[in-house]
Symmetry: C2
């Protein structure tokens, strides 16, 4: 018997996750492949097709019929022109009609979405935010982004650029951000920013608990090391995390004051730090939000981990097929 | 013949505007009355009934049938419990079911809404934002508030507290805000904040162009005087406005980065200052927004002035009657 299947692909800056599911959303197989560095548009099309083909090949069925593909991308997708404008981590792909090009190549409908938007849908439909109508999904990893579910629907904004939470200005004349502006939240509170601050501190004084990890790691530490050092009560690491959490807390407070969500879901690598991260964050948010909005909201960790985006795409593409 | 009419009431901290319109939204009469200072809930009910009765009495028709009332209020209205929680300028009215109490008193359906939300609807349906699906209405006067129209609908948030734009934290350890927090946008960029800064400057040095207005005004100046002095190139006034516009610009930039609206509408007394206000604001926003979101948005003055809230209520209450 021929079975209709959906493919959901989460294109990341370093990895591509492909999930194959049936039309009921039941996941049959998942596969993680590397994103080739410095790929251009033609290379990307080839890699995406190959990822889908390889993942489909892992299914033990005689006849497979791919019904549609959902693809989320780490960057700016113009929902009016249906064009990928810019992917900061895949800089050679820009102003490219990826959706129609991939659809033509595969011969099936393709739906493209921003990755934080897709992850917000995933968490809302099947993760930490089930049952909430107004919620914010925030991812804090190498970068910082957000997806907004408002009035029960994904809110994309006028051209699809809503949720650029990492580029809220939080520190006047602060560090330079990858986007070219100064003092963006992403430049002071992302995993990248935490690692940068730690490596600066290592060069300056060198006598922190971070040094032991630096020795094993080409002289450099990552945000994960900083969280480990903070758990071991290293004052340098604690100060670095406090600053990052402070700015993240102020930004989440502003978001709560502006949108009165009933839930804020935090995902991304940095949030794996657990209580070192969540406890001070909750305090800052309690202090900086309007009382009524604060009484109404919970801040919780994401539930779907690195699959949130692909799972969200399954829902979005299934919805599109109806 | 009996004519069915709608009443829309905008309850302000100092004035009550009542508009009577027919079911097509045609405005028949408007009346402005003072809000009695220090009124309690019973007093407020009486004043609102009286405002509606007096305004209806100005209509030259033999038989009038009031079909419904829309009322917008300057404060926190809980849309789940349908209770007015707090009106900062009418502090004796709190935790009061104003909607049902007024409906019972008048014997007609009453719909209550937050005033900035109502003004956003007014500007979207009949004012500066006609034809836009994703827009932010911001009012900058004694306080600062916002109303959000997203995906073509008024966005109220989970309990009705969305749009608390005045309480975004913009200046760490900044001046104390009326809400009890420090460094809120309202505490550095509202008309009240501009006047406070100017009066502080007068006490300190006294040799600014502001002094002439202070002499005629019990030794104090208002935000309007500061704008006049700035137009006359007074450096003290210019510096005060620059600071207010800077923080407002950063906050609007953050809002654009977060929500990707196609329009930002600025209303409220302060925006009457015109180019002294809008020109530097546009510059700050251009510098602090993500390129794609910025290319997509215009910032324009409101069109309906002090009637935006009441006009919005006409649309909302008419919609409710359907």
């Amino acid at each position: 018997m021929q079975e209709k299947l959906l493919a959901a692909v989460d294109l990341g800056g370093t990895k591509i996750l492909t999930i194959i599911a049936d039309l009921n959303g039941k996941i049959l197989v998942r596969k993680l492949l590397p994103t080739p560095p410095q790929t251009d548009a033609a290379g990307l099309l080839h890699v995406l097709e190959s990822a889908i083909t390889q993942t489909l090949a892992a299914i033990n069925k005689s006849i497979i019929h791919l019904a549609a593909v959902g693809l989320c991308v780490p960057g700016f997708f113009d929902i009016k022109e249906r064009v990928v404008l810019k992917l900061p981590n895949i800089p050679l792909v820009k102003n490219f009609p990826l959706e129609s090009a991939l659809a033509q190549r595969l011969g099936v409908p393709v739906l493209v979405e921003n990755d934080a938007n897709a992850a917000a849908v995933g968490e809302a439909r099947q993760g930490a935010a089930k049952g909430h109508r107004d919620l914010i999904y925030i991812t804090v990893s190498t970068g910082i982004g957000a997806g907004l579910i408002l009035n029960g629907e994904l809110y994309r904004g006028s051209r699809g650029f809503a949720g650029e939470f990492g580029h809220l200005e939080v520190k006047s004349e602060g560090p330079l951000c990858g986007c070219g502006k100064r003092g963006c939240l992403e430049a002071v509170a992302s995993g990248t920013a935490i690692a940068r601050r730690a490596n600066e501190a290592l060069r300056k004084n060198g006598e922190t608990k971070l040094s032991q990890w630096a020795v094993q790691n080409n002289g450099k530490v990552t945000a994960e090391h900083v969280f480990l050092a903070a758990k071991a009560k290293d004052p340098t690491a604690i100060a670095i995390i406090e600053e990052a959490v402070f700015y993240l807390g102020i930004s989440i407070s502003n978001l709560i004051n502006l949108l009165n969500p009933s839930l804020v879901v935090l995902g991304g690598g940095v949030t794996n730090a657990g209580d070192v991260f969540f406890a001070p964050l909750q305090k800052i948010v309690a202090k900086n939000t309007v009382k009524y909005a604060n009484q109404d909201v919970k801040i919780v960790p994401a539930a779907l981990g690195s699959e949130a985006g692909a799972i969200g795409m399954l829902f979005l593409v299934k919805n599109q097929l109806k």
